[in-house]
Subunit: 167 residues, 2 copies
DNA sequence: CGGTTTGTTCAGTATTGACTGAACAAACCG
DNA sequence: CGGTTTGTTCAGTCAATACTGAACAAACCG
């Protein structure tokens, strides 16, 4: 039984660390990703102090990274009545936000791509063709992800209307 | 006219730099991304020396990063008859490879996610529900991207069979 | 009020890993 | 063979930035 719990704990930290690594690929500090990972696994909103303690990081880091996450819309700050501490939980649409971040990056690349394509002299037909294909591919990916986002919005809406959020 | 060319050059370097930044989000050094950007814009396969010169980086960096890119399947090393230098060009399916890298990362996260979900005690129903939704979302995204990949494979095949690659 | 708890900010440290230079290996050339 | 060109490798440097500690501000409590 003890072994079970230990193993459980290990997989949890593994998951949290994995989220941390992943976050680096998303222009976010590793701690930010670990916070997200922790919040995914938390039953109730987690207090500022709890986050610092559980992850073993300074309060400064918690402050900075929660701010980043709230700005990115991935995490929500919630107030607990009768407690002065700040509490945090995953945003209901955190998936969407992550998706939108990816899409945003692709769109930025696409803009640079379009600019260079139009500024290219006509004799570079082969390069133009390649750029065009590149752009087409990106647009297809963006469209695909946007569809997914729309579908997810629907799912969330139906979930929320179906059963009210546990406060 | 001179201004045109200048502007053209600026957008090209802007594009190359953008690719460099993007590559960091893909676990690749910035120079690797810049090499890809350069190869996108090159009419013919680019020589080892040309890459180093155009990007203003050391031969060591070119060597390391081309190796990374070839290993990742994003770039191909080609031989030019009568020239001892190595030449590089974009892989025909470079888009796909990038896509697969993204999918691979999502699958890795999904594995950690599944592990923690099964190891979780039954009383944490809310967390389980959240994890399940998270996983479902990832699976949907992966499926979506795989469809896109399949479609792209078709496009490439038809392109190749339609007009032979200009050597 | 002073004292405590909580959160922010910022200067400084520490770490990570990209990038380089130099030494090396290999293939060509005279 | 020596000399040249090309590519690789590796130790070391450098830069970017994540993270911390400490000083600070703000809100609460006695």
């Amino acid at each position: 039984m003890r072994g079970m719990l230990q193993k459980n704990h290990e997989t949890e930290t593994a998951f949290i660390e994995e989220m941390g690594v992943l976050s680096q690929a998303d222009d976010l500090p590793r701690i930010a990703g670990r916070i997200v990972g922790l919040l995914v696994l938390e039953e109730k909103p987690a207090s500022f102090g709890r986050i610092a303690e559980k992850l073993g990081v300074s309060r400064a880091s918690v402050s900075t990274n929660t701010r980043l996450l709230v700005e990115a819309g991935l995490v929500e700050r919630v107030a607990m009545p009768g407690d002065r501490q700040d509490y945090y939980r995953l945003a209901a649409d955190s998936h969407l936000r992550m998706l939108r971040r990816i899409v945003g990056r692709m769109e930025r690349l696409n803009a640079a791509l379009g600019a260079v394509e139009t500024s290219l002299p006509p004799e570079k037909a082969e390069v133009k063709r390649r750029l065009c294909e590149f752009g087409r591919f990106h647009l297809a990916t963006i469209a695909c992800l946007n569809d997914l986002a729309a579908a997810t919005v629907d799912r969330i809406n139906s979930l929320i209307s179906g059963s009210e959020r546990t406060s």
